[in-house]
C-alpha cells in the first residue's frame, strides 16, 4: 500500500468531513453575524445576537417546540406500549395466523404513512382530529419497525427465565413488564432514539394535518418561517434554524456515542 494513497485518502477524509459539516458551520456563521455578512466571509465581522432576537420575535418557537416535544413523546410512549405487546405475542405465542399477522404488520415498513397522506387526511378530517397533537401522531402510534425489533429481541430471551417467573406466580402482563422489558432495555433505548429523531424531523404529514400554532411542530413552523414568499433574510433564518435544531443537536452532541450505537444496533437487527 503506497504512502501517497494513504495521504490522499486521509486528506479526502478530512475534506469530506468538512464538507459534510459545512451547512451547520454556515448556519452558525450567518446566525451570529449581521445580515451584511451573511454572504461575505470576513474573519473580523462583528458578532451579534440580534438575529436570534428577531427570529424569536417573528415566530412562536416556544409553542412549536412544545408541540414537537408533545408529539414525539406521545408517539414514543404509544409505540413502546403497542410494540411491546405485539412483539411479545409474535415472539412468544403460538397461534394460527401468526405468519399472516406478521406479514400484515411488516407491510408498514414498505408503505410508510407518508405515502398515504391523501386518504389518512380524509380519515383524520372525518374524526375531527385535524390540527391536534393526536392527529399528527395517529398514523405512527403503531410501528412495524418497533414490533420487528422487539420481536427479535424477545426471541433471544431464554424460555427458562419466563418459566421461572411463572413459577413465582407472575402471569401475563406482569411477565412482560418484569422480565422482558428490563432485559430488552438496550433495544428500547435504541429504538427510542431512532424514533425521536425521526419524528422530531418529520415534515410532510405534520404539514398536511396541522393548521395552527396549537399543533404545528418545529419543522412545519420552520417551513412557514423560512417560506420564500416575501424574500429571505438568511441571517434570521439561520438563527431560526439553530433554535429549531438546537435541542436535538445538543442532546446528540452529549450522547453522541449512545446515539450512534443505537442507530447501529437498530440497523443490525
Amino acid at each position: 500500500m503506497s504512502f501517497k494513497f494513504h495521504i490522499f485518502s486521509k486528506i479526502s477524509a478530512y475534506l469530506l468531513g468538512f464538507v459534510w459539516i459545512l451547512p451547520l458551520l454556515y448556519a452558525f456563521w450567518a446566525a451570529f453575524h449581521p445580515t451584511e455578512y451573511a454572504t461575505k466571509f470576513d474573519l473580523f465581522a462583528p458578532l451579534t445576537m440580534d438575529n436570534f432576537v428577531s427570529a424569536w420575535d417573528q415566530a412562536p418557537f416556544l409553542s412549536y417546540m412544545l408541540n414537537t416535544v408533545i408529539i414525539t413523546t406521545l408517539i414514543l410512549v404509544s409505540q413502546l406500549f403497542v410494540c411491546t405487546l405485539a412483539g411479545y405475542a409474535l415472539a412468544r405465542e403460538e397461534f394460527r395466523g401468526r405468519n399472516i399477522a406478521f406479514a400484515l404488520i411488516m407491510m408498514q415498513l414498505m408503505v410508510m404513512p407518508e405515502v398515504l397522506i391523501v386518504e389518512n387526511y380524509q380519515t383524520l378530517a372525518g374524526l375531527s382530529l385535524v390540527d391536534t397533537h393526536l392527529g399528527v401522531g395517529l398514523p405512527y402510534l403503531a410501528s412495524a419497525f418497533g414490533i420487528f425489533l422487539l420481536r427479535q429481541t424477545f426471541k433471544t430471551i431464554p424460555q427458562e427465565l419466563e418459566d421461572a417467573a411463572r413459577v413465582e406466580g407472575l402471569s401475563g402482563l406482569a411477565i412482560i413488564w418484569k422480565v422482558f422489558v428490563p432485559l430488552a432495555f438496550p433495544t428500547y433505548l435504541a429504538y427510542s432514539l431512532v424514533s425521536v429523531s425521526y419524528h422530531w424531523n418529520n415534515f410532510l404529514w405534520p404539514l398536511v394535518v396541522t393548521n395552527t400554532e396549537a399543533s404545528r411542530p418545529l419543522t412545519v413552523g420552520m417551513a412557514i418561517f423560512g417560506a420564500p414568499e416575501s424574500g429571505v433574510d438568511w441571517s434570521v433564518i439561520s438563527a431560526g434554524t439553530l433554535i429549531a435544531i438546537g435541542p436535538l443537536l445538543i442532546l446528540f452532541l452529549i450522547f453522541q456515542r449512545r446515539f450512534i450505537q443505537s442507530f447501529m444496533q437498530a440497523g443490525i437487527k
Binding site: T35, E36, T39, D57, Q58, A59, P60, Y121, A125, G126, S128, V130, D131, N211, T212, E213, I224, F225, A227, P228, E229, S230, G231, V232, D233, W234
Partner: protein, 428 residues
Amino acid sequence: MRNLNKQLLTCAFASLVGVSGLVHAASDLTMYYPVAVGGALTKVVDGMVDKFEAQNPDINVTAIYAGNYNDARVKALAALKSGEPAQLSVMFSIDVHALRNMDAIVAFDDVISTDAERQWLDSFYPALMENGKADGKTWGVPFQRSTIVMYYNKDAFKAAGLDPEQPPTTWEEFINVGQKLVKKDAAGNVERWGAMIPSTGYPYWMFGALTKQNGEVLMNQAGTETYFDNPGVISALEYWQDLGSKHTIMPEGVIEWGTLRQNFLEQKTAIMWHSTGNLTTVKNKANFDFGVAMLPGNKDLGSPTGGGNFYLFKQSSAEEKQDALKLVKFMTSPEQAAHWSKATGYMGVSADAYETDTLRDYVKAFPPALVARDQLMHATAELSTHEAGKVRKYLDDAIQAALTGQESAAEALAGAQAQAKRALKRYK
C-alpha cells in the same frame, strides 16, 4: 309535556341572562388567515382584531394563521367540511371560482342590507374588485392586496450615468437602461445584472404584467377560457425570454422569487420586479438609495393585482354572517386599511384610506408608497379560472420551459393552452 318544560326553562334562563345585563350571548367568529409574509404580520392582524374586539365586546374573534394562501384555503375548507366553525377568511383573490364551485361562500350582496353598506362595497378601487366579482355579484372584498412594482437602485443608476429620477417607462427603454446597468469584472463575469424578474413562486403573476403591457388578457372573466396562445401573449413571453438570452440584462434561466430581494439588497441586480409587499423590508434593509416606479409598458402600462380578499362562508348562521360582515367592514375601513398599509407595504384598498392622516403623513415622508396606488389605474385582474391550481401550473411550467430554453415561447404556450383547455372542458 317534557318539551313544554324544557321551553319554559329555556325562557326562564334567557330572561335571567337578559336581566343580568348581557345584551345577547357573545358570538364567536373564527377567521382563517394566510400568513404568507413572515410571522411579523400576525402581530399586525392580531392588533387590529384586538381593536375590533374592544369596540365590539360581544364578538369574540379567533384568527387562525394557516400558512400561505394555499394552506389557508385547504385548511379552511377542511374545517368547513368537518363541521368546525369558520365564518370568514382571507384567501387568494383568485380562488373565487374554486370556492364557488364548492358552494362554500356567499356573495356580499346577499349579506348587506343598508345603503351605507352598499356604499361601503362601492368604496374600493375598482381594479381591486375585478377578481372578487363573478356572475354580477361581489364575493371577495379586498384587504391584503398588492401589485408588482419596479424597485431600482438609484446609486447604480448614477454610477452608470443614468438619471436616477428617470426610471425606464417603456419596454425599449427597459432594455437600454438595463444594458447600461450591467456591470462586469475584468474577466468578463457579471458582477451586477441590469434587472431581474422572478420566475419561480408566481411566474404567472409576473407574466400577467407583461401580457397586460402587451395589451392582452390571459382569461375571460367567467374563468372558463384561457388565451395563452394568442400572438400578443406569445410575444410577451418572447420579450421576457429575450431579456436574458438576447439582451443579456438578466441572468438566463429561472430566477428565484425567494432570494430575489436579497439579490437586490446585495446589489447583484440594479432593478427588480417584485410585489409591493416587500416595500417596508426593502426600505428598512437597503444601504443604498433606491426608488420605486411603475412597471414599464409597451402597448399599455400595467400590472395584475394580487393578494388576498375577505370571503364570507355560507355555512354559518345569519347573525354570524352579520358579525363577520361587521369585522370585514372594520378591517377595510379607511383608518384600519391605512394602518395596515403603513405597517406592511400592502396597498390601502380604498381612495379614502389614502385620505387619512396616517397614510397622508406616511406617503409624504416616503413617496414610493404611492406608486402602487397610482399604478392601479392600469391594473388588471390576476389569472383566475376554474381548476385554478392546475391552470396556473400549466402556465408556470410553460414560462419556465421557455425561460430555460427547453421550448420556444410559442411551443410552450401552445402546450399550456391545450392542457388548460382540457382541464376547463368540464366547466363550459
